[in-house]
């Protein structure tokens, strides 16, 4: 296992597994967000329900904390491996080319690193905004609906969210297929299908997330 962690292939596997964890979370989160279209009660109630979940066993918010711990672990592993691999890559080419032209030209593949950083910054802001309420005009933890609509009431915040979500879409588009490849699941026969699935998932997630700020901006949600 230590050997595996040391090898570049092992690191990619860690990245893929943690990325998959994050992806599952993002999918669930996106679906949950859609409850906003059923009104404040639906969304807030959902948040409340989550915190009550299995409360007799884990206590109030217990499940949520477990999930947060898992997420945090994934984020840490994902980011650590990402940074290590990026540093290796820099070291592997100390002198760059004067003239360089990508051939394959997959935009999402080339923006994984900066895209990841953008997503990370976004998440920090997002948690301060909605969960903690620190940078939110409404800022009452638990009042998710009002926090969200208040936040997106400022167009520049809504635009920032939309940008971040688009970056996430690119990240997933390459990341999901890449994870299959890193884990050795992608083969010549499956590659096209897997790439198509990754594209589909990325589009759905992006569209799902985008729908909320757009709805607020266009006044569908107030």
């Amino acid at each position: 296992m230590v050997r595996l962690w040391r090898s570049t292939v092992g690191k990619k596997a860690v990245m893929a597994v943690s990325g998959a964890g994050l992806l599952l979370y993002v999918i669930a989160h996106m679906l949950a967000n859609l409850k906003i279209f059923f009104g404040a009660r639906s969304l807030d109630g959902y948040g409340h329900w989550l915190r009550e979940l299995a409360a007799p066993v884990f206590g109030y918010e217990g499940v949520v904390w477990i999930a947060r711990a898992g997420l945090l672990a994934c984020v840490l592993l994902h980011m650590t491996t990402a940074i290590q691999l990026a540093r290796r890559a820099r070291a592997a080419r100390p002198i760059g080319y004067r003239h360089r032209r990508p051939v394959q030209g997959s935009y999402s593949a080339r923006t994984m690193r900066w895209g990841g950083v953008l997503i990370a910054l976004f998440v920090v802001y997002h948690v301060l905004d909605i969960t903690a309420g620190v940078v939110n005009p409404n800022g009452v933890p638990g009042q998710d609906y009002r926090n969200v609509t208040a936040s997106f009431g400022r167009w520049y915040v809504a635009v920032f969210y939309m940008l971040a979500v688009t970056a996430l879409g690119f990240h997933i588009r390459h990341g999901m297929w890449s994870a299959f490849q890193s884990l050795g699941i992608s083969t010549a026969k499956r590659r096209r299908a897997l790439r198509a699935i990754a594209l589909g998932v990325a589009v759905v997630i992006t569209a799902g997330f985008l729908s909320v700020p757009i709805a607020v901006l266009t006044g569908v949600l107030t």
Partner: protein, 247 residues
Amino acid sequence: MRLTLRIWRQRGTSDAGELVTYPMDDVSPDMSFLEMLDVLNEELILRGEEPVAFDHDCREGICGMCGLMINGVAHGPERATTACQLHMRHFADGDTVTIEPWRARPFPVVRDLVVDRSAFDRIIESGGYISAPTGSAPDAHAVPVPKPDADTAFEAAACIGCGACVAACPNGSAMLFTAAKATHLGLLPQGQPERYSRAEAMVRTHDELGFGGCTNTGECTAVCPKGIPLDTIGRLNSDLLRGALRS
């Protein structure tokens, strides 16, 4: 045709290099890229200048010795073509052509466009073989190999070890080269006993030599003169992980 060449000149590994511009007046479209450099070198020698050093041998796309970054693309603009098989008819009169050596820490520049690729040999030495002693092999027909496996193994075995994959990879990774050999041997029944240890050893050596990790960007396959497919890398990953889980 008239061309303007910008060529990387560097005396030795520890020297600084620079791009030097050479105008060329009379390039025939039938020349290969290397023949065009031959003509330049003849001119340079007669002018009392040092000719440009570049690696080459077979000049028919099979030895893997040649390798130039031509206008930012490994082996130049034609797909599935080595620099020696690239012909000048793919350039237009008046073009400026920038020629640089492969760049990666494990491939130090020896002189001008010549780099040291012996790191590839180290990777093969660490396990890229089948431990078959000479002189006492079973009859060749003793073990049939399904044709599809044989064909896929051949496809991977076609790698010429040119290093273009490393040169093009944004991470400076040699994973396509490593995976090609692991796939070739791992697909054949004769290669099964060492399949997992081979993958592990080759990747370990690959990493120790200072190549970057693969992040599946796919530039390598795009420039590979033999079109080694990307799923060889998936196969190597799978072998490595399976091997690790087994032990």
